[in-house]
Symmetry: C2
Subunit: 179 residues, 2 copies
């Protein structure tokens, strides 16, 4: 089999295949990208769960609690990066995106399993100081369910093969970059 | 053995133990944190290699090419996050830091193995458009070796046990947070 990372087309194909696998398979590396955002004191980052990847639309979907800090940060600056590190493939995928915050999607919330709903809502909101780990009521709240729709502006890959290969995909143009 | 994540002290201890393991062991999760920085179009993120972790000083060390985009970004805004996701321990560690850029450390460069030196220098610099992956001369250059010294301002942990436990460590004060 030809190494797909020797061509720009092959690399691009790998990116979207791996994102699709992340959505479908809990154990795939792209299941848990890191979402980096701009906060008041610099950059913030946390692991998120990839819920959907739409290649045709160029969008990635994440669910979150609308009271979480990342929503506040994205309101201030929607420019974010989603990062996937696939150790086995020796592939880093950086997805630069503008993130749209979609609230009030009651239908999506209704379709969530019970256990998932508990991630949205809760008193006090995530990140509030509490006296002990039990001092928190996790009651789900549909009004706190938000969808982050990341519109991918640019993809940059780094494949740590021999040689290292870096590539950029933007506005339909694929380009090798110095590694 | 008592679960160390049930106490704030135990959690803090785990953080620095795991960072030390990242420095010593190539296969430890903390070996490859994600470094998030603020760029011109929002947040940027990439995987880096943890070179040192000094608990007493509260600093983490990363090596980089001074011509890399992250150095430019950190000059613009030194507020960054280093993120470690330890899947086995179900532990997320967010290290909010102010990053100092130390250049011209010729002694550190001289101590690097040959293979490592090739990461600093190279023409054209990393991220420059090139015609094909081979159009790059990786000649090492001591003047392009930079040390990123991350002064940790705040540590936030999230342990996905039962229950989920979030904690914050700042200015010597440890605090549980709503998960």
């Amino acid at each position: 089999m030809t190494d797909p990372f020797t061509t720009l087309d092959g690399t691009f194909e790998q990116v979207w295949q791996r994102l699709a696998r992340g959505v479908a398979d809990r154990r795939a590396p792209a299941r848990h990208p890191v979402l980096a955002t701009v906060g008041a004191d610099g950059a913030e980052a946390r692991v998120v769960v990839l819920r959907a990847a739409d290649r045709a639309a160029g969008t990635l979907t994440i669910h979150t609690d609308s009271a979480s800090a990342k929503v506040t940060e994205l309101r201030g600056n929607p420019g974010a990066t989603l990062l996937v590190w696939d150790e086995k493939a020796k592939l880093q995928i950086r997805l630069r995106a503008t993130v749209e915050i979609v609230e009030g999607d009651a239908d999506s919330f209704a379709r969530l399993p019970d256990a998932a709903r508990a991630n949205y809502g809760g008193t006090p909101p995530s990140g509030t100081a509490i006296s002990d780990p039990g001092a928190h009521d996790p009651a789900p709240d549909a009004r706190r369910f938000a969808v982050l729709l990341a519109h991918v502006r640019e993809i940059e890959t780094l494949h740590l093969g021999t040689p290292h290969r870096r590539a950029r995909f933007r506005d339909g143009v694929a380009q090798w970059l110095a590694p």
